[in-house]
């Protein structure tokens, strides 16, 4: 830095520093949110077997299902069938592992979107088998499909996720608020990464308390904290140093906020002690803070592993459903308690479905699968998309074992959610690069 221009540079930086010196809470308090919306993704990691999540109940399809599934068909020793009916009268059943949210179907808060998967464009069995159209790369591969389900860029690649890009496009609504806009409760996820927005991963129940700041004697702790505050607000005259200090300052503020979560009035709703229960509880706690954080649009990512059920599927999947539906129900009740039930939409994803034809006590990697959508804004009690024909080698089979060729693309599913979230239609193609290939841009499950 030369003397001739150091003054103006330093002045500029000092302004930036002063702006950055206010604490998160102070800044955010200025940006009181007139409305709030959140999208909450529950990722069924490992490839959820949709065939045993939503079961057709028309006689022909159910018989087909039972014939192909054999010992893996339900009802079995654990899972019973809980009846649901689409608005057009078609009967289905859901795995009674989902018993905790079964009532929400009747209350029209829960919907099923059938046979969704990564697609570049609408694809028929004939087109797929002859490679006549562009396809997502590395179908049936966990790491590839896991990433593509989060980036919505099947067939190409991306360093950002569709949730990150969705909040990017609505960044203006979050104004000066600096609380992370896209938060994973399950490690860093590309789903949350945007070009603009702050993404973060939190460990549920862990308030990120900085080490070494509570020590004996209390005067030493205070002195250390005070010194750190001084250090983080020093004007170094160096942009990158200032930016690094700001991140740490935000971290300290975030930590203080998270610490306050547990101190505030507890939820009447009780959350299960499972991992997904605690992840969703943390989401609810952050939503509760929305007035303090000043955030108006937030996306959350939660995940549950264990769906790669090559064996012992019957018990394992039923047990995972129990955990998830218990937590989803508690989460929905908590959004009612917070008065945001209509502003929070929860949806499930999985990297792929599984083969209808079992292999031993499990099933193999598939493609299309069924996703759930839950919330006050959901036009629930109905099934969206097109339920597949279960015939092996049939029009909806990508091969010979009932690995479903998706009838609905992830881009359509995500775009429906993003549109409800507030993204203008014109911006959707940028977030979902393959959406332009589909004629239906809104699946209609949200109002």
């Amino acid at each position: 830095m030369t003397n001739s221009n150091s003054l103006s540079r330093r002045s500029l930086l000092r302004l930036a520093t002063m702006a950055g010196a206010a604490t998160l809470g102070q800044r955010n308090a200025l940006a009181q949110a007139p409305d709030y919306k959140a999208l909450v993704c529950i990722f069924f990691s490992g490839g959820n077997d949709g065939h045993n999540m939503v079961i057709p109940q028309t006689a022909s399809q159910y018989n087909l299902y039972k014939a192909i599934r054999g010992a893996l068909s339900i009802p079995d020793n654990n899972a019973k069938l809980l009846p649901i009916q689409a608005k057009n009268g078609t009967p289905y059943a859901i795995n009674d592992g989902l018993s905790f949210i079964h009532a929400l179907w009747g209350q029209q808060k829960l919907a099923v979107v059938a046979n969704v998967g990564n697609l570049v464009q609408p694809t028929t069995r004939a087109q797929y088998l002859s490679s006549a159209v562009n396809l997502p790369t590395n179908l049936f591969s966990h790491p590839d499909q896991y990433v593509q389900m989060q980036t919505a860029t099947g067939g190409t690649s991306s360093g950002t996720g569709w949730a990150g890009r969705t909040v990017d496009s609505l960044n203006g609504l979050n104004g000066a608020a600096t609380f992370p806009a896209a938060i994973s409760m399950s490690g860093q996820q590309i789903f949350c990464a945007g070009n603009i927005v702050q993404s973060a991963s939190l460990v549920p129940g862990y308030d990120m308390v900085p080490s070494g700041m509570n020590l004996w004697p209390a005067s030493a702790a205070t002195a250390r904290q005070t010194a750190l505050q001084q250090i983080l607000t020093m004007d170094s005259g160096l942009s990158i140093v200032q930016a690094a200090n700001k991140v740490r300052q935000d971290g300290l503020d975030l930590s203080a906020m998270l610490k306050g979560l547990n101190a505030g009035s507890p939820f009447v709703t009780s959350f299960p002690g499972t991992s997904i229960g605690q992840q969703l509880k943390q989401v609810a706690q952050i939503i509760k803070l929305r007035a303090t954080t000043g955030m108006r649009r937030q996306v959350f990512f939660c995940s549950v592993g264990g769906f790669d059920t090559h064996g012992a599927q019957a018990w394992q999947q039923w047990d995972l459903f129990k955990q998830i539906s218990d937590a989803m129900n508690a989460f929905y009740l908590s959004t009612q308690e917070l008065g945001v039930a209509n502003d929070v939409t929860t949806f499930t994803e999985s990297e792929f479905g599984r083969s209808l034809q079992p292999s031993g006590s499990g099933s193999d990697h598939g493609w299309g699968s069924h996703f759930l959508v839950l919330g006050g804004a959901v036009k629930g009690g109905d099934l969206y998309g097109q339920f597949p024909d279960l015939s092996l080698g049939g029009p909806d089979d990508s091969g010979t074992r009932g690995t479903l060729l998706p009838s609905t693309g992830l881009d359509q599913f995500g775009a429906t959610l993003s549109k409800w979230f507030g993204v203008p239609d014109a911006s959707l193609n940028g977030i979902f690069p393959n959406l332009k290939n589909f004629s239906t841009r809104d699946l209609g499950f949200l109002s």
Binding site: G155, A200, S201, L215, T226, L238
Partner: protein
């Protein structure tokens, strides 16, 4: 005033007219000169209006005082000679009706509050009288006998005199303001008691020059306790009676040295000291200084007033030569302030002193330029590497590193072990420059254990990065493209015509060579007339490139039979060609690069790589990424251009000679700019941050460490990023700004806390089996907080610590419970600061 008028009216109503007589209140009395007094009159006449007169003059006069129409009397400032004053009130309704009052003017009223001491022995005494109203000339009496009195202020008198033995017991002290109308205070008591103790001081008087010292002795008789307490009003005196005159002549030039008997504190004797400016004066330069242990300081003495200018030197600690060269002691003296005395040889009482503060030796600051260079060319400096670089200089060090044999990279049993060994090499490998370049290339060309879970699916790729780190980027592309590891990771293996897999061709261009948008040769994007960026290629080019690269399959297992499409196999360094799956049509690739028809798999692959490698984008695209990882996130276009020129100049390894490119990046003036400019530097990525911290503290991460998990938490799983985009994009921008800050993508508030907490874990557990750091050099500095701060400054910030940061550290350290906690405080807070988070 209002009450007076009201009382007059009330009297008017009640008093009968026949008894009309005017009475003045208050009546005759003394009024201190210069004061005022409100007079009232009782006037039982209607109307009750009156005139006030002093000695017959209505309104009074300056001589006898004035009175207002409402009776407010102001006494004269000077007492009139006769001091007889008549105040007369006359009725304006009836001139025959008047009243008079006689008053006199007095000196100010005088009070004594206390005398100090209030107990004395008969004989000479010195008393401080505290009171109020004293006038100049006021006299204190003891039992009505006047004592010599000095007026100090209206509240303070000084009495020095003799109290006769006849007054044993309690005597009365009074103060008198003498003169006409004199006033006398109420008395205070003075206890006069005799003592068996008697005391004398020697010398009883003396004349001393300034700065000089004089030993006084006291002789106590009449008590077994002969101890005395010494005191003085000017200069200093030790408990042993060594008096030191002040350095500056006071006014008046006198001092009193007093010895008080400990046995009977009432018994005190004083000696009078007359101070003077000696004919001979000595001054010392510098009068004060700070120096470190064992350091020397030249002092000079100037003698004025004598032809003999020689002085003799002495020091309270350390040594000083006859020529005034002072050498600090080897250990810190107590107190740390050393007094140096220079006294005139001709007139030994003429002397001068200097004060030197002795401090612990400061740690040597590293050569900033070298330390910064090792930030860029290595994973930060170690003390050993700094020493080597100091001896060799940058050029020779580079030459040496470029020619060091590569650290061997074995294929361990698991990827977990591969991660451990990778971390170990980064911290410990002697070929630091190669490791640093490997890490940079690892962010550009990615294979991840997330998809390639076995060690032979990842480590051979790392071996290729090591092999070509100082070689040809073009050759690296060849070897990577053909490697079965990449064949698996991005699906080039078993990509067959016509359904060619586009994964590898796409990333080959997007990430490994050209990038998505056309660049100028200085790395800035080209823009069309609308100001938009211009795509480097389109989907048709991807499809063509994919077809051009068809025909590769995994190696045939040793001893196995080659299949048209081999299963996954990693037993050979390169994949095998299957011409029957190769598309032999002519093609047009990126930028219109033509591929003729009929080429074999190997030849056409080579042609494809030439097309992408020779595209003008590749040099600025890769160069700017290397600069961002090695040096700074926001290189100037000119810097990129200079290195691109080197890339494009055929070196020994042809175009894209990484040895020449890396050398150019590191030796560029923008990299070597030790005074940081505003946007200089890059945020440290987690692996670098921790590795540099361990190296700077001369620590170690063992080859079998279990530390990969820490970096997973910090967002940079070694060798296992989430996608081909790596742990972060080298084009990521700092949120809300135009500045590039790739590493900020994985430095969110959460990771900043976790990174700080990992640092704290290391600091508080410095001797873990798989990760250790050496804090001994800091702990050894113990109580010297400034030395600790400077050691931290040298180690972590290379001497660039600002004074404000030092001040903050010092304040926090003072509050720490012990020295070790203070050391921890300084290291931890510095490591948490943005100054340490950034390589600048």
């Amino acid at each position: 005033m209002r009450t007076t008028i009201l009382s007059i009216i009330a009297t008017l109503v009640l008093a009968p007219l026949a008894l009309a007589q005017i009475i003045i209140y208050p009546g005759g009395s003394g009024i201190p000169k210069g004061t005022t007094r409100q007079m009232s009159a009782y006037v039982p006449i209607s109307p009750n209006t009156v005139t006030w007169a002093i000695n017959g003059t209505v309104g009074g006069s300056a001589t006898y005082g004035t009175v207002s129409p409402t009776g407010n009397y102001t006494a004269p400032a000077v007492i009139p000679p006769d001091n007889k004053i008549t105040i007369q009130v006359s009725s304006t309704a009836d001139a025959t009706k008047f009243g008079t009052a006689q008053i006199s003017i007095t000196q100010p009223l005088v009070y004594i509050w206390s005398a100090n001491p209030n107990k004395v022995t008969p004989g000479a005494v010195s008393l401080s009288i505290n009171g109020a109203g004293f006038v100049s000339g006021a006299v204190v009496t003891i039992n009505d006998q006047p004592l010599p009195t000095a007026f100090l202020s209206p509240t303070s008198l000084k009495v020095t005199g003799n109290v006769p033995a006849s007054m044993l017991g309690v005597a009365k002290l009074r103060a008198i303001n003498p003169g006409p109308g004199s006033t006398t205070s109420d008395p205070v008591n003075l206890t006069v008691k005799s003592s068996a103790v008697s005391l004398s001081v020697s010398p009883s008087s003396i004349t001393l020059p300034i700065n000089a010292s004089q030993a006084f002795t006291a002789t106590v008789t009449g008590s077994a306790n002969t101890a005395v307490t010494w005191s003085t009003n000017v200069g200093t005196i030790s408990a042993a009676g060594l008096y030191t005159a002040p350095a500056v002549l006071p006014n008046p030039p006198t001092a009193t040295v007093t010895a008080s008997s400990v046995a009977d504190p009432l018994v005190a004797v004083s000696a009078a000291v007359t101070l003077n400016q000696p004919a001979v004066t000595v001054t010392v330069s510098p009068p004060s200084a700070q120096l470190f242990l064992n350091a020397t300081q030249q002092l000079t003495a100037t003698v004025v007033g004598n032809a003999n200018t020689a002085v003799s030197w002495s020091a309270s600690a350390g040594t000083i030569t006859s020529a005034g060269l002072y050498t600090a002691p080897a250990a810190l003296p107590i107190p740390a302030n050393v007094t140096i005395t220079a006294s005139s040889v001709a007139a030994p009482t003429a002397l001068a002193k200097a004060s030197l503060l002795i401090k612990l030796a400061p740690p040597a600051m590293p050569n900033l330029s070298h330390a910064r260079f090792l930030d860029q060319a290595a994973f930060g400096p170690t003390s050993a590497e700094l020493q080597i670089l100091g001896q060799m200089g940058i050029d020779a060090w580079l030459t040496n590193q470029l020619n060091l044999p590569a650290s061997p990279i074995a294929i361990p049993a698991t990827n977990k072990l591969a991660q451990s060994q990778y971390l170990n090499r980064i911290v410990n490998a002697p070929d630091q420059l190669r490791q640093r370049v490997i890490a940079a290339l690892n962010k550009i060309i990615v294979i991840s254990a997330q998809k390639n879970p076995y060690s032979d699916e990842v480590v051979p790729y790392l071996q290729l990065l090591s092999k070509h780190a100082f070689g040809s980027y073009r050759q690296l592309l060849s070897d990577i493209t053909l490697s079965p590891q990449m064949g698996k990771y991005l699906d080039l293996a078993n990509s067959k015509s016509p359904a060619a897999n586009e994964n590898y061709p796409r990333e080959l261009m997007q990430l490994f060579t050209t990038g998505l948008v056309l660049l100028n040769s200085d790395g800035t994007p080209q823009l069309d007339v609308q100001g938009n960026t211009i795509p480097t290629y389109n989907q048709a080019v991807v499809a063509q490139t994919a077809l051009a690269l068809t025909g590769w399959t995994f190696p045939t297992a040793p001893g196995g039979t080659p299949n048209v499409s081999n299963w996954e196999n990693f037993s050979a360094p390169a994949m095998e060609a299957r011409e029957q799956y190769h598309n032999k049509a002519a093609k047009s690739l990126i930028g219109g690069c033509p591929i003729p028809a009929g080429l074999t798999v190997a030849v056409e692959t080579n042609a494809v790589l030439d097309c992408v490698f020779n595209h003008p984008n590749t040099a600025p695209f890769i160069v700017s990424r290397l600069i961002r990882d090695l040096v700074t996130s926001n290189p100037s276009p000119a810097y990129v251009q200079r290195v691109v020129d080197v890339w494009n100049t055929n070196g020994p390894a042809g175009k894209g000679d990484l040895k020449a490119v890396v050398t150019a990046i590191l030796k560029d003036s923008e990299a070597r700019q030790d005074q940081a400019t505003i946007n200089q530097g890059r945020l440290k990525d987690p692996v670098y941050h921790v590795a540099a911290f361990v190296r700077s503290l001369n620590g170690n991460i063992t080859p079998d460490n279990l530390r990969a998990w820490n970096f997973v938490q910090l967002g940079q799983a070694p060798l296992a990023p989430a996608s081909v985009f790596g742990a972060y994009s080298l084009t990521y921008r700092i949120r809300g700004g135009a500045l590039a800050g790739p590493e900020f993508q994985i430095y969110t508030p959460t990771e900043s806390m976790l990174r700080g907490n990992f640092i704290y874990e290391m600091l508080t557990n410095p001797n873990q089996p798989d990760l250790n750091i050496n804090l001994a050099p800091f702990l050894a500095l113990g109580a010297d907080k400034n030395a600790v701060i400077e050691q931290v400054n040298a180690t972590l910030l290379y001497g660039r610590m600002t004074q404000s940061l030092k001040d903050s550290l010092a304040t926090a350290m003072v509050a720490a419970s012990d020295n070790n906690q203070a050391v921890l405080t300084a290291l931890y807070l510095t490591a948490l600061s943005g100054y340490y988070a950034v390589q600048y």
